[in-house]
């Protein structure tokens, strides 16, 4: 059976049941029941995230989440740990909220503890100090990590002084300025019910989750509605950054500003990505050329759609390679970007990618956490109810002409930023970029 026949045969279908509720406190609740699931995942997303960091205090949103488990009005951090650890609960804080998972039957206990953490954290001074020390240590080590430095510099080249140009966990200088008071103030202003979306996936039923969370989150106050602001980024253009270091490999990040998730070209760009730089194994052009044929790298990829969010993401091509390969790698990236603009992709390439995207769609949803993340994404981006059915149809409709059109519109090989680290000179990078 060929690729097209396989797709027409239908294959397996993905079903992620979705129940929508609004909690009495004003937060949105999404529930995806999955009878018999051994693990229950809970995820909380708050609009705003690191964009709400106070000026000069980048890392505030991140540290606020990290400190929620370090003490509440009812429980000390030791008491919280004593409840959470034996049930094997995992809670990961991020600048945009919390993600937690627990064995299925324990979700009620987890929900109670999470609610306390959301509503009544105390940010004890000694715990804030310890958390800051640990973060500062990490930042100090990261300063000498060439790959991390190149990645950060790449963001700065693309986003400039906008908050997206910084690491969500801040820098040595900004973290130093954050105090318990900063975190309390941030929590009060940003952790508000009407900016919150909760997703629960596991062996649960929606009405009982709603009843429980209504009770647990009673009193969670709403806040100001965030108004969308038009972001300002540096103009598109060639910019180069280099972090020199004595290492075996050079890390190269090449690219430019990307697209929003709401861009109507998103499905065509997902297909383009898979032809160009993210298709599995050596099925994409860049991996086939730079890894399989030339043996330049173990890790090499390129994508524009994977970072698309509410704000524009980045087109990023990455390779870690030996210094003598730098020129070949950069020219390889640029030539493949130009090629996909100039030549229509072949029918065989297109068929392969469509079959992959459509056939792999149901995969990966075994994990409760993945389903919960999907629920959150569906809310943030406003996916329609039938999105899991219509997105594969959008992939199916993409033509070679579509790919060429979106490649010309969204890829800019003549105006790429390039950030590198390792044993390489800036002149080599500039020369390679000029071609």
């Amino acid at each position: 059976m060929n690729a097209q026949e396989l797709r027409k045969a239908g294959g397996v279908r993905l079903s992620v049941p979705l129940e929508r509720y609004e909690l009495k406190c004003g937060a949105s609740l999404l529930v995806s029941p999955r009878p018999g699931a051994p693990v229950t995942a809970l995820e909380l997303h708050l609009r705003g995230g690191p964009s709400l960091d106070p000026a000069g205090k980048a890392g505030t949103a991140y540290l606020t989440s990290a400190l929620l488990s370090q003490g509440t009005e009812t429980w000390s951090e030791e008491e919280l740990a004593a409840q959470l650890e034996p049930m094997g609960a995992q809670i990961i804080g991020s600048a945009s909220g919390l993600a937690a998972r627990v064995e299925g039957k324990e979700w009620k206990s987890l929900a109670a503890i999470l609610s306390e953490m959301i509503l009544r954290p105390t940010f004890p001074t000694d715990r804030v100090k310890l958390q800051k020390q640990r973060l500062q240590h990490r930042l100090l080590i990261e300063r000498e990590n060439p790959q991390a430095q190149a990645r950060l510099a790449f963001r700065r080249l693309i986003y400039g002084d906008h908050w997206m140009g910084r690491a969500a966990y801040g820098s040595l200088e900004t973290v130093q300025k954050i105090s318990s008071r900063t975190l309390r103030a941030h929590h009060k202003g940003a952790w508000v019910s009407n900016r919150a979306t909760l997703a629960v996936c596991g062996d649960v039923d929606g009405p009982s989750v709603k009843r429980r969370l209504d009770r647990l989150l009673k009193g969670w106050a709403p806040g100001k509605i965030l108004k969308p602001r038009k972001p300002r980024f540096p103009k598109r253009g060639v910019r180069v950054a280099l972090h020199q270091a004595e290492r075996r490999q050079v890390h190269i990040f090449l690219g430019h500003l990307g697209i929003r998730r709401s861009d109507p070209d998103y499905p065509a760009l997902v297909v383009l990505d898979h032809v160009l730089g993210t298709g599995p194994g050596f099925t994409n052009r860049i991996a086939r050329r730079l890894r399989d044929e030339l043996g330049l790298a173990y890790t090499v990829n390129a994508s524009i759609s994977s970072s698309a969010g509410i704000s524009p993401g980045m087109f990023t091509a990455y390779i870690g390679t030996s210094p003598e390969n730098v020129d070949t790698a950069i020219s390889g990236f640029l030539e493949e970007m130009k090629r996909i603009q100039m030549e229509p992709v072949t029918e065989a390439e297109l068929e392969l990618v469509k079959s992959y995207l459509i056939g792999s769609f149901p995969m990966g949803y075994e994990r409760a956490a993945r389903r919960a993340s999907y629920l959150i994404a569906s809310r943030i981006h406003g996916f329609p109810d039938d999105y899991l059915e219509t997105l594969p149809q959008s992939f199916e409709a993409v033509t070679p002409e579509d790919i060429q059109r979106v490649a010309k519109k969204h890829l800019h090989p003549g105006a790429c930023c390039l950030s590198a680290s390792g044993p390489v000179k800036k002149g080599v990078l500039k020369a390679a970029l000029r071609g």
């Binding site: 051994p38 020390q133 240590h137 270091a245 298709g279 599995p280 194994g281 399989d292 030996s322 149901p362």
Partner: protein
């Protein structure tokens, strides 16, 4: 499930909801079918009982390099076909090499998973090993090696492994050495492949939304005709020697971190000690309330992180303890605090509440680690090829049987200063 299927499944072992059926083909291939119908997904994995453990000094890295070459063409599936077919079917594939085994993985929808068996059977018996592809892939492997050498933790772990296993092949990195890899020939790899890749040295695991009878038939059709081969006639790896005293190694890195790796030789996979050491690991480093986390990170602020792993293998295990000094803390202070906690665990009575907490954490970790059919296939296969697949099913029950006395005993027996290697990675210019 039909009445007959129900009867077939009665009293079969179950792992995370998957009913396990065990078979062995006439050519020696062990086949494990784990039936679970929660999602329309099937993971199929082939494990070979060969890894860096089986290599000689002059073959260092061949197992891992061969793993790469298994994607470069076999009799029926030419170069690139494995990826192309997997992609067209919307699936995923990958592989990895460990000291004791090499594993190949496919995950596909349940209406098309059997193609994975075609590929695996073909490359078990008909790998091409083209000279040109061999040369191109060697460059990729050397880049992978360079990637690892840019990582201070990997460098340090390698240095302590070399000190811990003075003669046994566990001393060598799975990826091998640069000079050996550069000199490796395709003939040498072919010889290695022929010695180790045959049904009697392999386990096939099929896990997911399958009918077990049909899955077995599919396996028989693909693998049944591959001829049996005698096991490779080769010397066992050198014996593991009991350490003659504490050893120290130091590496340097150009940042300000002081990284610590302590290792002790321990027990083989699946032994009673293996399960007791799981509990030891949990008591010492799992979570805020674990002994080392509480003392080193939270109370005395000597470290920014601490973790441990119980890495039991076919010939011997390794207990790994990793820590990173907090800024301004002297390495000696960190070592002393660790020694003190290990001594406490080895000499004092373990409170039942702490033992219960550790066992609950291990049970929860098992649930989290068995969420997908690929998780289950991997655990079954690793135990099958290294020891006995039933350990994957019995593991949590055996953890539950561990007593406070057993925890104390294994700590006192294994985790003592005179048996360990202490490795420090220090800032450049700092003396050990």
């Amino acid at each position: 499930m039909t009445a007959r299927a129900k009867k077939d499944s009665a009293a079969k072992p179950i792992k995370a909801g998957a009913i396990i059926h065990e078979h062995r083909l006439r050519n020696g291939l062990q086949v494990l079918i784990a039936e679970r119908h929660d999602d329309p997904v099937v993971a199929s994995m082939v494990f070979y009982g060969v890894g860096s453990r089986n290599e000689t000094e002059g073959e260092a890295g061949v197992s891992h390099f061969l793993e790469h070459m298994m994607f470069k063409g076999s009799a029926r599936f030419g170069k690139g076909e494995v990826d192309r077919i997997t992609t067209v079917l919307g699936g995923s594939n990958n592989a990895y090499t460990a000291p004791d085994h090499t594993a190949y993985w496919f995950e596909l929808a349940s209406d098309r998973w059997e193609i994975a068996l075609d590929i695996e059977a073909d490359r078990m018996n008909g790998l091409i090993l083209d000279t040109r592809e061999f040369g191109a892939e060697k460059k990729v492997v050397l880049e992978e090696l360079s990637m690892g050498r840019d990582d201070p933790w990997r460098r340090l772990a390698q240095a302590v492994s070399e000190a811990l296993f003075s003669r046994h092949s566990y001393r060598r990195p799975v990826i091998g050495y640069e000079d050996v890899l550069r000199g490796m020939s395709v003939d040498m790899m072919r010889d290695y492949y022929e010695r180790h890749y045959h049904p009697g040295n392999a386990v096939l695991v099929i896990c997911g939304d399958v009918n077990p009878r049909r899955a077995l038939k599919a396996a028989r059709e693909r693998f049944g005709s591959i001829p049996a081969r005698a096991a490779a006639d080769e010397a066992d790896p050198s014996p593991i020697e009991e350490p003659a005293g504490e050893q120290r190694v130091t590496t340097h890195w150009d940042d300000s971190s002081r990284r610590l790796v302590m290792v002790w030789p321990t027990a083989v996979v699946g032994s009673e000690e293996d399960y007791a050491l799981d509990v030891v690991t949990t008591i010492l480093t799992h979570g805020r309330l674990s002994r080392l986390q509480a003392r080193l990170v939270h109370d005395q602020k000597l470290a920014v992180s601490v973790s441990a792993s119980n890495d039991t293998r076919v010939d011997a295990g390794v207990f790994w303890l990793y820590a990173e000094c907090a800024d301004g803390v002297e390495p000696r202070a960190l070592e002393e605090a660790i020694d003190d906690e290990l001594k406490r665990l080895a000499t004092e009575r373990l409170p039942q509440s702490e033992l219960r907490r550790a066992k609950r954490i291990l049970a929860a970790s098992d649930a989290h680690g068995s969420e997908t059919v690929s998780d289950i296939a991997e655990e079954l296969g690793e135990y099958a090829v290294d020891a006995n697949w039933r350990l994957a099913v019995e593991g949590i029950e055996r953890n539950k049987l561990v007593t406070a006395v057993a925890v104390k005993d294994v700590t006192a027996r294994f985790l003592i200063p005179s048996r360990r290697v202490i490795g420090w990675s220090l800032p450049i210019g700092e003396r050990s």
